[in-house]
């Protein structure tokens, strides 16, 4: 809380990728292959710098790098400040570390693409934005990164822009994110209006000390505004619809942006602003409801998907829901913990999927895969490890974080939803079971059984497999390593995020842990059995309840619903405003005035008859009128 600032040079962390982006684009135009090398190097440099800083970061301190005053006007002062504290250190490590691996992976994956200089430039630009986001010393710098990652996401989703559907997916991502950003902006305005700053250093004491006589309602309002932003970025209901479509981008992009880093920005922001959220229990209750709903909806949707990337996308949405659950419970470190582990295993999963897609010549439908364990052993093993991790099987990293989430929920002490928390927990556990189930399903359909496609799958080259292995290792052991078993406790490290929530430490035996991972085991086992032995069963289930199956394979019809109640009405309204209101009414009135003057001008056809005696009559009439009306009367 009362951390002391240490001045340090932070800007190179963000600067390397920015420079890398420029160089990759400019030099890559000449020689495409340089782009990947430059970008990877930039990312790696950045990672090294992060490591250097984090290594040197003392406890209860943070690094600060004041670059320049960005906006300074009257009371509004926004500095361009970087800040590395424990939270951002963790995030930076993830972003640059996983980022570097994915860069490396991409050099092979994108090997044949014509536009890879653009790709790497965008990728590095994304790194830059993401680093701005996590390094920002105030909400404004965070917001720069926030919008920046949105932009890069847009660019990368629409990377293969010749396919208009892909481009539309990018646009959708950006616009939906923008809706969230609008909420975020309103939150910032509220803070600026009532507290006068967005600087974390100043904000936290101002909020927590209660100096601001604003009351809970204000906190709730701000928290909800910010959460709207988080919903957009982190794909929570109702703004999650863009993420499945975002799979249009190249797979490394999905891994980096739409799994490991960008989508977790919402969670990061909540953690960053945790001091505010804990003062707004009502908002936290909302967060919980949204998170649980999202997790459940996404998990059920994932059950019926056949596109391997879609499965992973829904899984990501679902896992993000888990992170928000932790945040809702006030256990922000847990949320970050899950962010980290999720980054490991989900990146690995995506990269694995990418490897499969690469190996199968851009086949994404799992129904045309199968039996790949023979052709792609490394991919298969790393993918399997990650499935176990995400399923929350003990020992693998997912278990640690997910267990911590459930623990945090069990200690729900928010007055709101207190009586419902039991039922919510059941739902959450069911969702965890589903997670294990559909992930296993995807594994089985992809790697086991007989090959059902027509391509000639082959194992990927080393730049792709090495990151897979590294990430699989991290996914396997990372959880354990961070939970204090190896002398490093993330909880302890992120103590600053503990805003009064009681932290309970309970060491559990391996047996207990295995029992605790029953949901995952059940899911894995059931799916394994169903998809290897009883292949008829899934279809039967779905046929039993046709509406449900329709609902699930239709992804709950969110897109259709939004289309029907928001997008199309708005489009219709736009057309109406243009055609009817603008051209018809407003311009009609303008032109009508002109027409009226014209018509009045035509009066001359009545008055200027050309008849002499008529003129004489008018002259005399006017004379009589004037004399009688003005002079005599």
């Amino acid at each position: 809380m009362n951390q002391a600032a240490i001045s340090a040079t932070i800007w190179p962390i963000a600067f390397f990728p920015l420079l890398g982006a420029l160089l990759a684009y400019v030099l890559g135009r000449k020689e495409r292959d340089w782009a990947g090398i430059i970008a990877t190097a930039a990312s790696a440099l950045s990672f090294l710098w992060v490591v250097k800083l984090v290594w040197a970061l003392p406890e209860a301190h943070y690094f600060e790098d004041q670059l320049f005053q960005w906006i300074s006007l009257a009371d509004l002062k926004v500095d361009f400040t970087f800040r590395v504290d424990q939270l951002s250190a963790v995030m930076c490590m993830v972003v640059t570390g996983v980022g570097t691996l994915i860069h490396l992976y991409s050099t092979a994956y994108m090997h044949e693409d014509e536009g890879r200089h653009r790709f790497f430039a965008y990728l590095n630009l994304f790194m830059f934005s993401m680093l701005l986001l996590v390094l920002g010393g105030n909400l404004m710098v965070l917001f720069i990164g926030w919008e920046g990652v949105g932009l890069c996401s847009y660019l990368l989703i629409g990377f293969w822009f010749k396919n208009l559907a892909y481009a539309a997916a990018g646009r959708k991502a950006f616009v939906v994110n923008r809706i969230g950003d609008a909420g975020f902006l309103l939150g910032i305005f509220l803070l600026l209006h009532l507290v006068g700053t967005t600087d974390f250093v100043a904000l936290q004491p101002a909020i927590m000390s209660g100096n601001v006589a604003l009351g809970t309602d204000f906190y709730t309002l701000v928290a909800l505004c910010l959460f709207v932003g988080a919903c957009g970025k982190s794909a929570q209901i109702p703004l999650f619809v863009w993420l499945p479509d975002a799979m249009a981008g190249p797979t490394p992009v999905s891994a980096l942006i739409h799994a490991a880093t960008m989508v977790t920005a919402g969670v990061y922001m909540l953690a960053r602003m945790g001091f505010l959220f804990v003062l707004a229990p009502a908002a936290l209750a909302v967060v919980l409801v949204v998170a649980v709903a999202t997790a459940f909806v996404a998990a059920t949707t994932a059950l019926t998907q056949y596109d391997i990337k879609k499965v992973l996308a829904y899984s990501t949405v679902s896992q993000l829901g888990f992170m928000f659950m932790a945040a809702a419970a006030g256990a922000f470190w847990v949320a970050i913990f899950h962010v980290v582990t999720h980054a490991f295993f989900k990146a690995c999963l995506f990269l694995g999927a990418g490897s499969v897609i690469h190996g199968c010549h851009h086949e994404q439908d799992m129904r045309h895969m199968g039996g790949l364990y023979k052709k792609m052993p490394i991919t298969c093993i790393t993918y399997g490890v990650s499935v176990l991790a995400i399923a929350g099987i003990f020992f693998f990293s997912g278990y640690q974080s997910k267990h911590a989430i459930l623990g945090a929920l069990e200690h729900w002490h928010n007055p709101h939803l207190k009586e419902w928390i039991e039922y919510i927990l059941i739902l959450v556990k069911f969702t965890a079971f589903l997670t294990a189930f559909y992930m296993t399903r995807s594994f089985v359909m992809t790697f086991l059984g007989e090959y059902r496609g027509h391509a000639h799958p082959h194992e990927s080259p080393w730049p792709m497999t090495v990151p897979l292995i590294v990430l699989a290792v991290l996914g396997a052991f990372g959880g354990l390593a961070l939970s204090g078993s190896l002398g490093f406790s993330l909880e302890h490290y992120l103590a600053a995020l503990n805003f009064g929530a009681a932290a309970e430490h309970h060491h559990e035996s391996i047996a207990a842990a295995l029992i605790n991972s029953w949901t995952g085991l059940l899911g894995v086992g059931l799916a394994f059995v169903m998809y290897t032995q009883l292949k008829e069963l899934p279809g039967m289930f779905l046929r039993l309840v046709p509406p449900l199956s329709k609902l699930l394979s239709g992804k709950y019809y969110f897109d259709e619903l939004y289309g029907a109640i928001i997008v199309r009405p708005l489009e219709g309204l736009a057309a109406f405003l243009w055609k009817v209101v603008d051209q018809g009414m407003i311009d009609g009135m303008v032109n009508g005035t002109a027409a009226f003057v014209d018509a009045t001008g035509e009066l001359r056809r009545i008055t200027q008859t050309g008849q002499l005696r008529y003129y004489a009559l008018m002259l005399f009439g006017a004379t009589v009128f004037f004399i009688i009306f003005y002079y005599v009367l």
């Binding site: 005696r613 008529y614 009559l617 005399f620 009439g621 004379t623 009589v624 004399i627 009688i628 005599v632």
Partner: protein
């Protein structure tokens, strides 16, 4: 004296109405000549002898002869004249009545209604003296007017000639 005036007044108005109602312009012109003579008589009742004489000579003589001349010149093509149009007539009558009644009432109440007391005699000598002394400049201007009229009449009445064909 008064009887003469009222007699002349009636004749005057009758002849004026005749001018505007006769279908044949020749009759109108003759009525106007008569009217002008009556006006000359009225001038005489007001002791404006010189003016009365000029009225007869210039108006009834010169001007009306000119009018008759033109009428005769153009008479061949005057057949289709149909003098009255009810709409114009109605409107003109209403306006004319309004004009006459309004101004008449105001004149009646506003101007001194007593008969003129002055013994002003508009003899040739008296008028001439004023005309050629005090009014010499307007008199010259009047000559300019007549010159302009002559020039104008020449311009207009001359047959067209030497028009360049474009």
């Amino acid at each position: 004296m008064a009887v003469t005036f009222y007699l002349m007044a009636v004749l005057l108005l009758l002849s004026a109405v005749a001018v505007i109602t006769f279908k044949n312009p020749i009759y109108s012109a003759l009525a106007l000549v008569f009217n002008l003579f009556v006006v000359a008589g009225l001038f005489a009742t007001l002791d404006a002898h010189f003016i009365a004489a000029v009225q007869v000579v210039v108006y009834a003589g010169a001007i009306m002869v000119l009018v008759m001349f033109v009428l005769m010149l153009l008479s061949a093509k005057l057949e289709k004249a149909s003098p009255f149009s009810p709409l114009y007539f109605g409107a003109a009558l209403i306006c004319g009545l309004a004009f006459a009644v309004t101004l008449g009432l105001e004149f009646d109440s506003g101007f001194n209604s007593a008969p003129p007391a002055s013994d002003l005699q508009g003899t040739v000598a008296a008028v001439g003296k004023v005309l050629y002394s005090r009014y010499v400049f307007p008199f010259e201007a009047a000559s300019l007017l007549l010159m302009a009229a002559i020039a104008g009449a020449v311009v207009l009445a001359r047959r067209r000639y030497r028009t360049k064909e474009l």
